[in-house]
Symmetry: C2
Subunit: 166 residues, 2 copies
DNA sequence: CGAAGCTGGTTCGAATTCGAACGATCCTAT
DNA sequence: ATAGGATCGTTCGAATTCGAACCAGCTTCG
């Protein structure tokens, strides 16, 4: 096997290490946050994310599809979680006047309150684990990295060529 | 509400944006890879990860627990996936001589072959989406970032104080 | 030796996610 | 106006994940 062969078929060891570590770190972060949120506040990270998006929106309301896009999940999963949140009284469904297909999901006062209870827990976690140790240069760099990754994904999704690779 | 109050209760908008984008990008990456892998090679990303770890190990074999640690998932999930992979003939269970509780999971020739078929697909994806656009400085920086995040998580896990946050 | 505790792996039930299929509504172009 | 196609949200079944409980084997320490 030639060096070029190797290059094309496997990642360079150092590069491979970065990718592996990336996967591990993201998974660990997710688990850690999820557990803390569930133990201390009885909601999932996805549920928390939904509440945050709603709180940040005009009228504290959003459409199901937009919600699905923002939190990057299947529409059916949003339906499921909105049902849960609705049962908990943290969220309400409303008809949409402009579009009779659509439904608005609106944060209730109870939902806002629950969010405000949970936020410090999560935010301190994000700060301590993720952001506190970053200097200005680093966080700027991180921002740029996220930008390129995001652009690459856009590109790939715009170009849905699932070309067979051999 | 004072500025300090705001600071302690919410993230600065720019910082919040970085965190949000981080979550979105990681989820999008996972989905993208998972879909490609399933469509083209009929295995999950977790299953692929298991095969990779085994292939990289001495004897092409690992213990269940170590596998769980490496891919950052519950032990029961590993049991589940090893069952699937075993049904597909890509992996075999063996008794462990040193420890009668333990089981070795060993990659079969068919497993290695399947991995080698799937690898180019994934690796080109990782390159195109994740690594190609990074210059040396950036990938060094990323490596450092992953290091601090990983250390922070170690710290937090060593210190399992689920202190109530209000 | 032997009891108490720890570790490795499995099993079980509950929760969540996904994608495909569906009915309803909207949009566009003729 | 209207037919064809896109979009919205839901429902359904299958797959996966998690944590708790459990058993068996290991380890430590009296």
């Amino acid at each position: 096997m030639s060096a070029g062969d190797f290059e094309s078929r496997w990642l360079r060891p150092d590069v491979n290490a970065v990718w592996t570590r990336f996967l591990q770190v993201t998974h660990r972060l997710e688990h850690h946050i999820d557990r803390r949120l569930q133990d201390n506040h009885g909601i999932t990270h996805t549920q928390y994310e939904i509440l945050v998006r709603l709180a940040d929106s005009d009228e504290r309301a959003m459409r199901m599809s937009d919600l699905a896009d923002e939190i990057v999940t299947a529409k059916s999963a949003v339906t499921y979680q909105v049902n849960r949140l609705s049962e908990m009284g943290l969220v309400e469904r409303h008809k949409c006047d402009r579009d009779n297909r659509g439904t608005w999901v609106k944060l209730t006062p109870a939902g806002l309150e629950r969010l405000e209870q949970a936020a410090p827990c999560i935010l301190s976690l994000v700060r301590e684990l993720f952001l506190d140790d970053l200097n200005c240069d680093q966080s700027a760099e991180l921002d740029k990295l996220l930008g390129t990754w995001s652009d690459n994904l856009d590109e790939h999704e715009r170009n849905p060529v699932h070309r067979p690779d051999h």
